[in-house]
């Protein structure tokens, strides 16, 4: 009852405002009047101080600024978004902080879109906020497939990668001869998810998982698990840990004298940089984007380098891409009204620096080509950050899992 009344009131308000607009929209109308509040505000909500700071963090704000600059340069006077602001906040990777910050961004800072948001628990909480506030949310750094599954909603887009994409990279490893796998995973939601996805991907590619070994999380001593994994004599040992646990595992793995090839579930180029290529030599993993892949990437990475003194991770490029595509959608829609912008994104094929063969799927997962990468040996590295050899490019349609049936939009 209350619902229908609200709808009626809404319709009346819409009609009358449309009439008002029609009355005002003489030749004097400027493009600014198309923006809901006279400006477009892009919120970057991520980890500015903790474990995810390097792989995304403050430099993602710079990447978004680059997208804004490029948009302005491209459209000049014709730009719909004439006044673009970027606001940022630190979630400290705490869901409650992230949740309040997201609400505050939408409500108080008039953010039209929120970008980034690492850590699955925080990312899912923000998706709920976006749905409630009816504002856009383009998640870049969270891996959970739930974003385009049970918690999917009209305003949430999952931009860069997910656990299934990471697992699909195993195809390339199996094809290169890594037939038998032992998977070591931390025993919590992320690890279990990854283990399941990798097992499916390895088997689909014709390989075989001979051992599946859970470890406590967090954990310092992996010696017993490494021994266990070796006992089954696999071609590849897949490690699904992330962050500090991954670094511990890799160090211990290297001193254990194990001969199997190491495949890492989730790795950012910043991880290789902090631990050194020596520790990772020969390791394979799935990358969503690599800065030295082609000239286009490299040119952008050079610009990024002059601004930040570091090379971009895929998260930086993906934030650039999300901001760019958001602004392009605003440009096409001629307004920053969230529903109109969503309509301009849904089902679209997108191409940019980050999205190669990109497409916005029905479940709002944004798929694109992914890369099976191998860490170079120290001798092969010609310059700092030149750590990866791309051994296979996985076309977008094979790079991600199927459309999530749990998502009902």
């Amino acid at each position: 009852m209350a619902h229908t009344r609200r709808k009626v009131v809404g319709a009346v308000a819409l009609l009358s405002s449309a009439m008002l607009l029609a009355a005002c929209a003489g030749p004097a109308a400027t493009s600014t009047s198309k923006l809901t509040d006279g400006k477009v505000v892009i919120g970057v909500l991520n980890d500015q101080s903790g474990v995810y700071k390097d792989l995304s963090g403050p430099n993602s704000v710079i990447a978004v600024q680059m997208a804004v600059d490029d948009y302005k340069a491209k459209y000049g006077d014709k730009a719909v978004a004439t006044n673009i602001q970027i606001v940022k906040a630190d979630t400290q990777n705490k869901p409650d902080v992230g949740n309040v910050k997201a609400e505050a961004m939408y409500d108080r800072q008039q953010a039209d879109v929120i970008l980034d948001v690492p850590a699955s628990s925080v990312a899912l909480a923000v998706a709920k906020v976006a749905a409630a506030k009816k504002k856009l949310y383009m998640n870049v750094t969270a891996a959970t497939t739930d974003l385009s599954g049970p918690t999917c909603n009209k305003y949430t887009f999952h931009w860069a990668y997910d656990t299934q994409m990471l697992a699909k990279g195993a195809n390339g490893v199996v094809a290169a001869g890594g037939k038998t796998w032992a998977i070591v995973y931390p025993d919590y939601a992320f690890g279990q998810n990854m283990s399941k996805s990798f097992t499916a991907a390895v088997e689909a590619a014709g390989g075989k998982v001979v051992a599946s070994i859970p470890t406590p999380f967090p954990n310092d001593n992996f010696a017993t698990f490494i021994t266990k994994a070796q006992a089954s004599n696999p071609d590849v040992i897949g490690i699904m840990a992330a962050g500090g646990d991954l670094i511990n595992f890799v160090k211990q793995y290297n001193t254990s004298g194990a001969k199997a090839q190491l495949a890492v579930g989730l790795m950012f180029i910043t991880d290789i940089h902090s631990l050194g290529v020596d520790q990772f030599t020969g390791t394979t993993f799935t990358d969503a984007w690599y800065w030295n892949y082609d000239k286009k990437n490299r040119d952008w990475a050079d610009r990024f380098l002059t601004l930040t003194d570091t090379r971009p991770s895929f998260a930086h490029a993906a934030n650039y891409s999300a901001a760019t595509q958001y602004l392009e959608a605003v440009q096409r829609a001629g307004t920053d009204n969230a529903d109109a912008v969503v309509k301009e994104l849904e089902g679209k094929k997108l191409e940019d620096l980050f999205l190669r063969g990109g497409e916005v799927r029905a479940d709002h997962s944004v798929i694109h080509d992914s890369y099976t990468a191998q860490v170079k040996t120290a001798a092969q590295v010609t310059e700092d950050w030149d750590f990866e050899k791309i051994i296979a490019t996985n076309p977008a349609k094979d790079a991600f899992g199927p459309v999530n049936p749990e998502c009902k939009l």
Partner: protein, 357 residues
């Protein structure tokens, strides 16, 4: 357990001097008025969801103070009750869709229920051992929450906890109105805490804190009293955790993780141990700091809160509230002494009043 650093605020209340008693009553009413006013205008001044956070943490800190300040037990596992209740509240709200006070009541009962075995096994220890045992139990709850994916969602947390409030959509959708609904629950919890401390039962707790051997000699069953205090404290922590869950609309693993236990002890210490209301000040300081720092672009939230903790511990041993109380008492005494001197013209009287108060 004797602890010389703990303040003895309660015994001074036993003074029967009618003049002092009236002064105390006036002072209490004034403070109460300020407190109520502050609670009412809070969401006008700061962002309503942050204000609701302060409420929840304030009651949580009060529940810890009930044990730490009035019973002499430092629990380092209170996240188990806050978070345990958070999960149960969330599950009840999601699965049954009942009005949120009912869901919170369910969470609170769960918190008290798990507090019985945990308390039974841990109150036999005191000091650092008690802290460690409670921490161990809280970690057990953490691992259950982490592993039981179907129920708790593990690392991803429990998402989409609805706010259902008898169909009143203002409370259900607007965080500003929700604050006042939550305030009612929190005030009920705080009044309960105040009643506990100022009841004969509370006096026994204080006696146990100050000298448990003597309390035992007087015939009190020390363990039983401690256990009851522990369970009551868990209930208040559960109430706070439930409100927090409804306010945010989700439960994360963080609620049962040990840093949460640490954070609430930090709030209690900053506000003032054994002051009951100090926790609210501590909660406000920490929550506002976290909120401000995360938008400021400054990268070291931990450095600031750590520094404040060190300053408080070094300079204000009784916390913000306790120090303010001390300062207030000192001024009052100085005024009384001056008034007395004026009346008598005799400086020797001052000493007597000083001792008597």
């Amino acid at each position: 357990m004797t602890n010389p650093t703990l303040p003895t605020a309660v015994p001074s209340d036993l003074s029967l001097d009618p003049v002092a008693a009236r002064g105390r009553l006036v002072r209490r009413l004034v403070l109460l008025g300020i407190g109520v006013l502050a609670a009412l205008v809070l969401p006008l001044v700061i962002y309503p969801p942050v204000a609701s956070d302060i409420l929840a943490w304030a009651l949580f800190a009060l529940s810890v103070d009930l044990l730490l300040g009035f019973t002499g037990l430092l629990s380092f596992g209170h996240a188990a009750f806050w978070g345990g209740s958070a999960y149960v509240t969330g599950i009840i709200a999601i699965r049954l869709g009942v009005p949120f006070p009912v869901a919170i009541l369910g969470g609170m009962i769960f918190a008290m229920a798990i507090a019985v075995p945990i308390g039974y096994l841990s109150v036999r220890r005191s000091g650092i051992y008690f802290a460690m045992v409670t921490l161990a139990f809280a970690q057990m709850i953490y691992f259950v929450a982490n592993q039981w994916l179907d129920v708790t969602g593990g690392e991803n947390g429990l998402q989409g906890v609805p706010v259902s409030f008898f169909g009143i959509s203002a409370v259900e959708t607007d965080s500003f109105t929700f604050y006042y609904a939550a305030l009612v629950l929190i005030v009920i919890g705080m009044v309960a805490g105040w009643r506990i401390v100022h009841s004969p039962f509370g006096r026994v707790l204080t006696a146990i804190r100050d000298n448990s051997a003597r309390a035992r000699a007087l015939g009190y069953d020390v363990e039983r009293y401690k256990l009851i205090a522990f369970v009551l404290s868990a209930g208040l922590a559960g109430l706070a955790g439930g409100v927090f869950t409804i306010s945010h609309g989700f439960v994360s693993l963080q609620e049962v993780d040990w840093p949460t236990s640490g954070k609430v002890v930090l709030m209690t210490v900053i506000g003032g141990i054994g002051t009951l209301w100090g926790g609210a000040i501590g909660a406000a300081v920490i929550v506002l700091l976290e909120d401000q720092l995360s938008s400021s672009g400054f990268e070291g939230t931990g450095i600031i809160t750590g520094a404040i903790f060190i300053i408080v511990v070094l300079l204000f041993r009784r916390g913000i509230w306790g120090t303010a109380q001390n300062g207030f008492d000192r001024i009052r005494r100085a005024l009384a002494v001056r008034a007395q001197r004026k009346r008598n013209g005799d400086s020797a009287v001052a000493t007597r009043i000083d001792d008597g108060s």
